[in-house]
């Protein structure tokens, strides 16, 4: 598992490997790994989720991640005994359905030499966490993360409305309302 310390070590090693090979990469990161780097969460996380690559200033699907990056990440994984997928493009489908409006303006940029990470802003992380929490239920780590982030009503409303653009089914809406109630915000206006 990745603690803040191990994640920073792993990224520093990744940076050095990429620099040594003359490779640069710019990635957009969401999820627990990003929150850990921002100091928002204190728990450990399994991976660093890449939602997009930045190419020519524009966001592009992270699937597949560039081979030199994957190779270097695998070497880092061996050194720190991390899962091979510690750096992965798992959530890149979110890009297809659309990131929250204003996402690019809220990013926080961290540079590790030739490796640039754009970390999703707080409002967007809350949106992604709420969406995942609805999917995985009240006992999931996403609910705990949301509770630790203590989102305001306005932030949850923004997150809930964005979530509904990704899943328009009545079932999802019901589960979203239950999740909001669980978080103490049953009265949020969704439309």
């Amino acid at each position: 598992m990745l603690s803040h310390e191990i994640l920073t070590e792993a990224l520093t090693s990744l940076r050095e490997l990429l620099a040594d090979r003359g490779v640069s990469s710019e990635l957009v990161v969401i999820g627990g790994g990003g929150l850990l780097l921002q100091g928002v969460l204190t728990r450990t996380t399994a991976d660093l989720d890449v939602v997009a690559r930045v190419e020519g200033g524009k966001l592009a699907t992270a699937e597949p991640l560039p081979t030199p990056l994957v190779d270097a990440a695998a070497e880092v994984a061996r050194l720190y005994r991390l899962p091979e997928t510690w750096l992965n493009s798992g959530p890149t489908d979110l890009l297809t359905f659309g990131l929250p409006e204003g996402f690019a303006d809220r990013q926080e940029t961290r540079r590790f030499g030739g490796l640039t990470l754009r970390l999703a802003g707080r409002l967007d992380q809350i949106a992604f966490k709420l969406y995942a929490a609805v999917d995985q239920g009240p006992r999931s780590k996403h609910v705990r993360d949301l509770q630790e982030m203590s989102p305001t009503r306005e932030e949850l409303q923004f997150a809930a409305r964005w979530s509904l653009t990704h899943d328009t089914s009545p079932d999802f809406r019901d589960q979203l309302e239950q999740a909001l109630a669980f978080l103490g915000e049953a009265e949020i206006e969704l439309d």
Binding site: E9, V76, L79
Partner: protein, 311 residues
């Protein structure tokens, strides 16, 4: 050059000198008189050391020119193909041998096209003392059975316990050829055969009966191709990363260990361990120099450098 590179290089040269002196090269120290020699692995190792010890290169070439007929070219090629040494390093060495003899050691086309003049030989090498030196069992068997897989198979069986065709092929011959030799020897009632899983394992039926004919076996068996190959890889790694950050050095070492893990397992050398990543590079340096030094000293230390032969 780092102190680790220097220490490793010194141990490698010491090791090569001792092994060559055992074979008959004009040297002073023989520390491996009871360890089965592997001349092809040693030739590839020495060629890869290149000009770092010009006298070693010249004296070993002198030996190869005089006694190169005892060397298996097939095995030389196969060991080279398996990653021991490299063709570029072998080119000059093999070309020198070819120019002084009628032998045909592997030289790349590109090198062959370039005209080189044959250098002078020292003429100091002694004939390998096949009668008295136990470590030269492999050469004695080649004198008896001819240079090739048959002699080497018998050497391996005399020095090891039971072996399969695959294990024996790993010394540098084709599995099909080895299987055919094992079949011949089995049909001649010289080998016993045991089925283990879906593999046949062979061992000599009466190894002691061979002793009056082929002489005593050495006391120890070393996986020289693995040992010398690993040392070359480590040496190259230390030199390549000399100017890099400690973090990059560690990552490079980890890449290397993936490549040599099978050899390390056969050698029972283990791998360097450290309490955390920050102490890892130091552990790698200490480990490499210690292993190389132990090999160079010829210290019989079963499980670390070579194994005792039990017949």
């Amino acid at each position: 050059m780092s102190s680790t590179s220097a220490a490793l290089g010194e141990a490698m040269r010491d090791l090569a000198w001792s092994l060559w002196t055992e074979l008959g090269v004009s040297g002073t120290l023989r520390r491996h008189d009871q360890v089965l020699m592997d001349p092809e692995a040693l030739i590839l190792f020495t060629a890869a050391l290149g000009d770092r010890d010009p006298r070693l290169r010249d004296e070993s070439l002198d030996w190869c020119v005089r006694y190169g007929g005892a060397i298996s070219v097939t095995r030389l090629k196969n060991l080279l193909g398996s990653g021991l040494g490299n063709q570029q390093a072998l080119d000059g060495y093999a070309s020198m041998v070819n120019q002084h003899t009628s032998l045909s050691w592997p030289v790349s086309k590109r090198f062959r096209a370039a005209k080189t003049s044959p250098g002078r030989l020292s003429g100091k090498s002694q004939e390998p003392d096949l009668r008295r030196r136990a470590a030269l069992l492999r050469l004695r068997l080649r004198a008896l059975f001819g240079v090739g897989a048959r002699a080497d198979v018998i050497a391996e069986l005399l020095c090891g316990s039971s072996s399969s065709a695959s294990e024996l092929a790993a010394i540098g011959y084709s599995k099909r050829g080895i299987a055919s030799i094992l079949d011949d020897l089995y049909r001649a009632d010289l080998l016993s055969r045991t089925q283990v899983g879906n593999t046949h394992r062979f061992e000599l039926k009466r190894p002691r009966d061979l002793e009056p004919l082929v002489g005593a076996s050495p006391v120890y068996y070393a996986h020289w191709a693995d040992c010398l190959g690993v040392l070359l890889v480590l040496d190259e790694m230390f030199r390549e990363v000399a100017a890099k950050s400690e973090r990059l050095k560690i990552l490079a070492a980890n890449r290397v260990f993936v490549d040599i893990v099978d050899s390390l397992e056969r050698l029972r050398w283990g791998v360097p361990v450290a309490a955390d990543v920050s102490a890892y590079w130091q552990a790698i340096e200490t480990w490499a120099v210690e292993r190389a030094t132990r090999a160079a000293q010829g210290t019989p230390d079963p499980g670390r450098f070579c194994a005792q032969i039990v017949v």
